[in-house]
């Protein structure tokens, strides 16, 4: 199967765009009044949007938005969640009970709902978007890290380190974290896909990235009004979003099989 290769290639392109977009001769905000809602032509391979801006340029800049938001949210969630989850499991007692209670409450909010409410109340903008999604995102990592630490902390090499009087932070870092890294990496992969969809979803609802910054979600939102006359406005960002998410899910499946992680998300 060449599928993983294609998926990897697509993701490489996506990340490259995220890094290089500001250095490329792109004009996501240049307006060509004569070409409003115009179809593809030489120089504007995906046509123009409702303000006469080139869709391809906005698509590439949107790749940057989604990539940075996803990297930021998954980075913060992974670090905060792993830290809190493993600490709770490792310290046990009232710390662990408090953590579990907090996790239960956060997980009682269905899906993207809490992120919508938080983003709505914090106000629009990329910074608030990252805060809202991270406040929701850490929960999955904390739950996983906690479960993992609980299952490995009784192992003999950890007990030996405790008996030798190693300091707790050292044990956590040296003996526990390496053992629980694999499932967390798999979880982080799927979280990337989830955050990309969430970012686009919030931007679609008008709660995320604000104009004129391009986001695939807000491009779809703006394009829906012209679905009949200019379907490319919805198709282009949608296909990009779909392909990136599909590629990440594909590679996540592979990674899970390769690292032999069970239970980390169905």
């Amino acid at each position: 199967m060449r599928t993983p290769f294609a998926a990897g290639l697509l993701l490489a392109l996506w990340v490259t765009m995220a890094l290089l977009a500001p250095h490329l001769p792109l004009h996501p905000e240049r307006i060509a009044l004569a070409s409003i809602l115009g179809g593809p032509e030489v120089g504007a391979w995906l046509g123009y949007d409702d303000l006469g801006r080139p869709v391809l340029d906005r698509l590439l800049v949107g790749a940057r938005t989604s990539c940075w938001v996803a990297a930021g949210v998954v980075g913060v969630s992974l670090v905060a969640g792993t830290l809190l989850g493993s600490l709770g499991a490792y310290l046990g007692g009232c710390w662990d009970r408090a953590l579990v209670m907090l996790l239960d409450v956060f997980m009682a909010f269905p899906g993207i709902l809490l992120a919508i409410a938080l983003a709505g109340l914090l106000g629009p903008g990329i910074g608030n978007l990252v805060i809202a999604l991270s406040l929701v995102g850490w929960v999955g990592f904390a739950r996983l890290a906690r479960a993992q630490v609980l299952s490995v902390k009784q192992r003999e090499h950890v007990q030996a380190a405790v008996a030798l009087g190693s300091p707790r932070p050292y044990i956590l870092r040296r003996h526990l974290l390496p053992l629980i890294a694999a499932p967390l990496v798999v979880e982080a992969t799927f979280a990337m896909a989830a955050v990309i969809v969430a970012e686009a979803g919030l931007s679609f609802l008008g709660l995320g990235v604000q104009p004129p910054t391009a986001s695939w979600g807000s491009m779809i939102r703006d394009g829906v009004r012209y679905l009949l006359v200019a379907p490319h406005l919805v198709l282009a960002p949608g296909v990009a979003l779909f392909l990136v998410v599909l590629s990440i899910n594909l590679l996540g499946d592979r990674l899970r099989d390769r690292l032999d992680v069970r239970g980390a998300r169905a």
Binding site: A108, F109, L121
Partner: protein, 308 residues
């Protein structure tokens, strides 16, 4: 059973209290002064104080919380700042519309996932299996706010079979339900296949085959019936994603449910309505999870024995 029931009920109450507290605190997440944000430049100092008092924001935090929780017990969620209506009166008709959409989406998901999962497991490594896993991968990867417009493009604008948006009769329900149900169908199909394959390796299946039962009886009567339990657990959890997704899907189709109400309220900075909507959706989810757990325990005695 009573012991498991009580423990589970108590846990659900506890979580509900946490949910209420978090939703209560939402208004304090607004950067700066919420009253300032709501009124903008308009309004004199006296107006501001009146609003602050109406929202109870001039009282100590502990009192505010008690007032909020106390109001809940009387079904009082405060009043909309936009049209002064009681929030509970605004929520009720919206809840009906959202429940209708969610139920239809669930039906779509089951109608798609059951035959797909069953076929994929029964004809393992066949075209059906490939088709099933392909559907699962595509289904979880396609965002509903893109699938929605695509379906509209083909079935409303192109073929003219269904209305573009709104809630007017069963025809208007088809596309939103399909949009919302697809992701759930994808996850369920995969779960059903996996769970079935595990069950089909059990001894009682061999016995059923040895007795000469028909394949239908073996696969559905013995296989699916036993594979259903883990699927039910996943289903309960996935209903959360369904409810969250409903907020987005409703916006795509202007479906007059809780989701569109939430977005409208956010845009109008109508914080009591935002809180009420979030609270109602979350508590419904807590209730659904409680019911799924109790149902699983009723079907499978092992669960309630293990828990107590």
């Amino acid at each position: 059973m009573p012991r498991y029931l009580l423990a589970r009920l108590f846990a659900a109450l506890w979580v509900s209290l946490g949910v209420v507290t978090l939703v209560f605190s939402l208004i304090h997440w607004v950067p700066g002064d919420p009253v300032e944000v709501m009124m903008g430049e308009a309004g004199s100092g006296a107006d501001r104080e009146a609003m602050r008092h109406a929202l109870g924001l001039d009282r100590p935090l502990g009192q505010q919380w008690l007032h909020f929780v106390g109001g809940l017990f009387q079904g009082d969620l405060g009043h909309s700042l936009y049209n002064q209506m009681p929030v509970s009166a605004l929520l009720l008709p919206r809840l009906v519309a959202t429940a209708e959409l969610a139920a239809a989406a669930l039906a779509v998901a089951l109608l798609l996932a059951l035959p797909l999962g069953l076929l994929a497991a029964a004809r393992r490594a066949s075209v059906w299996d490939t088709l099933g896993s392909g559907f699962s991968l595509l289904g979880v990867s396609i965002p509903n706010f893109w699938l929605g417009p695509l379906l509209v493009l083909v079935f409303s604008l192109g073929l003219g079979w269904f209305p573009v948006s709104g809630r007017d009769g069963w025809a208007s329900l088809v596309l939103p339900a399909l949009t919302l149900g697809t992701a759930l169908a994808a996850i369920l199909a995969r779960m059903i296949r996996g769970s079935l394959l595990e069950v089909m390796g059990e001894d009682f299946i061999r016995t059923a085959k040895a007795k000469g039962l028909s394949p239908w009886r073996i696969w559905v009567g013995h296989g699916l019936r036993n594979a259903g339990l883990p699927v039910l657990t996943v289903l309960g959890m996935q209903l959360g994603a369904l409810l969250g997704g409903a907020v987005v899907t409703e916006s795509v189709f202007s479906w007059p449910g809780l989701g569109t109400l939430l977005i409208e309220a956010i845009q109008r900075r109508d914080y009591p309505v935002v809180q009420g909507t979030v609270l109602l959706i979350s508590l419904s989810y807590v209730l659904i999870n409680l019911l799924t757990d109790l149902l699983s325990a009723r079907i499978d005695p092992r669960i309630r024995l293990e828990a107590s």
